[in-house]
């Protein structure tokens, strides 16, 4: 913490947080018209883009929880808790940005009571509510351990597997339904992104993003908190990421082929450039991760994960913004307040993550009462995580 690097990030976070807070006050005082560049032709902007990628970057929660608890890949257990934490924070930011984005945020509970099962948004409302609850439950053990509350910890132990299964299913539904949102706009979303396969793309890319987040988080934790993960573990994740990225990119290419959309790839248009940026950011780490020599350095693995994460952020922003501009007949660029709120939420997530890691047992999974890591049955593999 004495590193000067940290004080830079602290200052940057503080600036973003203060700017975001100001913008939130501004938005509620003067309304959406004054605080955004949204209009009737372009009713969804960067906050929707933020929501899409916040959820994608939260995918580490269900991928690693599924790997550890359902598929019993125990060696990933040390990163489970940080991933659940990142997902919980990602979803919390989703909910906060939703409260800011909704015209009447005090009615946020309406979808839970006034049903319309034909609406993707209705499905999303339920998934977010339930999965945020699940993430909260998955995260609670860390709090209970800190407070040394044995009884509730025990209770959570018992319900753990059903909770994890529910989490994986809810995530699958939620990740894909964010893609389904755009199925309704075949004439509005640019054909490089509009596809009947959109829900599948969103789900697959979430899997990739989940693994990339795991690499990203482990590097940061080792740098800033001195809590290192087994290096072999990170290398393993790098391989998984390479394969998942290859699958994702192949499916995207096949989809373009099936829709006869290859011709669009060479059109000198804004959409084309942003599309290639997105693909380059995803293809580069895939190629790099398939090279053995890159597996020797944690920094390279980290670099690859950052590229992939940026690729998915670009993808979500392309779907939400770039791909919708042409049909709206305008260029959208977020207003100062919109950007300030988005950056503020990112800073808030990082700050809360840092605080949680500092004060809660997030990286300690060696203890006996680690509910996150434990299934009631004893497991001898626990003694040395990360070693096969």
């Amino acid at each position: 913490m004495r590193m000067p690097k940290w004080s830079f990030w602290k200052v940057a976070s503080a600036v973003c947080l203060i700017g975001g807070l100001y913008a939130v006050i501004f938005r509620f005082a003067f309304g959406l018209g004054a605080s955004t560049n949204l209009n009737d032709a372009f009713p969804w902007g960067i906050w929707i883009g933020f929501k899409l990628f916040a959820v994608a970057l939260s995918a580490g929660g269900f991928t690693i929880a599924g790997a550890v608890h359902i598929f019993n890949v125990r060696r990933y257990r040390p990163i489970l808790r940080p991933m659940v934490l990142s997902a919980f924070l990602g979803y919390s930011m989703f909910v906060i940005s939703l409260l800011i984005d909704l015209g009447r945020p005090y009615r946020i509970w309406h979808p839970l009571v006034m049903w319309n099962p034909h609406s993707v948004m209705f499905e999303i409302a339920w998934c977010v509510t339930l999965y945020t609850t699940v993430l909260f439950l998955e995260f609670l053990p860390a709090v209970f351990e800190k407070l040394e509350w044995k009884k509730p910890l025990d209770l959570l132990h018992r319900a753990f597997i059903p909770v994890v299964i529910a989490g994986v299913i809810l995530s699958t539904l939620h990740q894909s339904s964010l893609g389904s949102l755009y199925l309704i706009v075949p004439e509005k979303l640019y054909p490089l992104w509009y596809s009947p396969m959109e829900p599948v793309f969103f789900f697959l890319s979430a899997l990739c993003a989940g693994v990339a987040m795991a690499i990203f988080a482990s590097w940061h934790s080792s740098r800033s908190l001195g809590k290192e993960l087994e290096f072999s573990l990170v290398v393993g994740l790098g391989r998984v990421l390479a394969v998942l990225l290859a699958v994702y990119l192949t499916v995207r290419a096949l989809d373009l082929e099936h829709r006869d959309a290859f011709g669009l790839l060479a059109l000198p248009r804004r959409e084309t450039y942003f599309f290639w940026l997105e693909i380059a950011l995803l293809a580069a780490p895939m190629v790099l991760l398939f090279q053995q020599e890159f597996h020797k350095s944690a920094t390279w693995l980290y670099f690859c994960s950052v590229l992939a994460l940026l690729g998915f952020v670009t993808n979500r922003l392309n779907v939400a913004i770039t791909g919708m501009e042409a049909s709206a007949g305008l260029r959208y660029f977020p207003k100062r307040e919109e950007l300030a709120i988005t950056l503020g939420l990112v800073a808030l997530a990082f700050t809360l993550f840092w605080l949680a890691v500092k004060y809660l047992p997030i990286y300690e999974t060696e203890g006996t009462s680690t509910a996150m890591a434990e299934i009631p049955s004893a497991n001898p593999v626990r003694v040395r995580h990360g070693q096969t």
Binding site: F28, F30, G31, L32, G33, A34, L38, N39, D40, P43, W44, G66, H69, I70, F71, N72, D101, L102, G103, R104, P105, R107, I108, H110, P111, M114, W115, N116, P117, H118, S119, V120, M121, F122, E123, I124, A125, I161, I165, V168, I169, T172, L173, S177, S180, L183, I184, V185, P186, E187, K188, P196, P199, M324, I375, S377, A378, N379, P380, V381
Partner: protein
């Protein structure tokens, strides 16, 4: 019987009485400044657009299977049996998905209000429910905007085109667009000229999302069975491994005895 509005642009004289009647019915201000606006907005639900001596109206198409109603998470937008697509502001949370989803980009938002609502033409649902024509149709002096049974109006529109082929574009806009709408348009100039999309599918738009949504129960049921099953296998393995280790620790002799 489903009701509809037939607007025949060739009979329109751009008097804008429909705009005025619409504003009155919806309690919106209407003056020369508003009359001059050529765009639909949160304070102008219908517009008579003009290009030289050609005119075209724009209002909510009141689709037969509306995208807005299908995407609304709280069911604030609904298609009534008589034809109108209504909006219940007391339910609206302000997610604006209806605005994104509408193939005609009809719903508008009160961007400048602190607590905004969506605004759009609802085909005078209260009047239609009482058997009255819409305000715009009732006031139209030339009969360019006509209210009636949808089927009867379609037959009439076909007749008009058939009996006067030079005057009309051979297309009833709204007959099949996105599965048909409760507003039908006739024109002497191509509809694109007034910004009407002609690349719309004849399939109702909600089908696109419903196809995906209908898989949700399958994912839940299959997912639970699959995850539960995998869990059962992997944990059984872990239990066996644990038991074996315990046995080894307890002593090899005991193990032999049992065998």
């Amino acid at each position: 019987m489903s009701k509809a509005i037939l607007y025949d642009a060739t009979m329109c004289i751009d008097c804008k009485l429909c705009e005025k009647a619409c504003a009155e019915r919806n309690g919106l201000p209407y003056d020369d400044k508003v009359a001059a606006e050529q765009k639909q907005s949160e304070h102008k639900f219908t517009v008579v657009m003009s290009q030289g001596d050609k005119f075209m109206r724009r209002m909510c198409m009141n689709c037969n299977d509306p995208a807005c109603a299908s995407v609304c998470p709280v069911g604030a937008l609904r298609k009534t049996a008589e034809g109108p697509v209504t909006y219940d502001g007391s339910r609206c949370i302000g997610c604006r998905y209806c605005m994104v989803a509408c193939p005609f980009s009809v719903p508008k938002y009160e961007w400048n209000k602190i607590l905004p609502l969506v605004r759009k033409c609802d085909m005078c649902a209260d009047r239609v429910a009482k058997g009255q024509p819409t305000a715009c149709a009732a006031i139209c002096p030339t009969g360019a905007t006509k209210f009636g049974d949808r089927d009867a109006l379609i037959a009439e529109a076909k007749n008009r085109i058939a009996s006067n082929r030079e005057q009309y574009v051979d297309h009833i806009y709204g007959l099949n667009e996105v599965g048909g709408t409760s507003v039908l348009l006739l024109s002497s100039v191509p509809f694109e000229q007034f910004g009407y999309k002609t690349n719309l599918s004849v399939e109702p738009v909600p089908v696109l999302t419903y196809r995906a949504l209908s898989h949700v129960p399958d994912v839940v049921v299959l997912g639970t069975v699959l995850m539960g099953g995998i869990c059962w296998i992997t944990n059984r393995r872990a239990e066996v491994a644990a038991a074996e280790t315990a046995e080894k620790e307890a002593g090899v002799d005991k193990k032999r005895e049992r065998r």
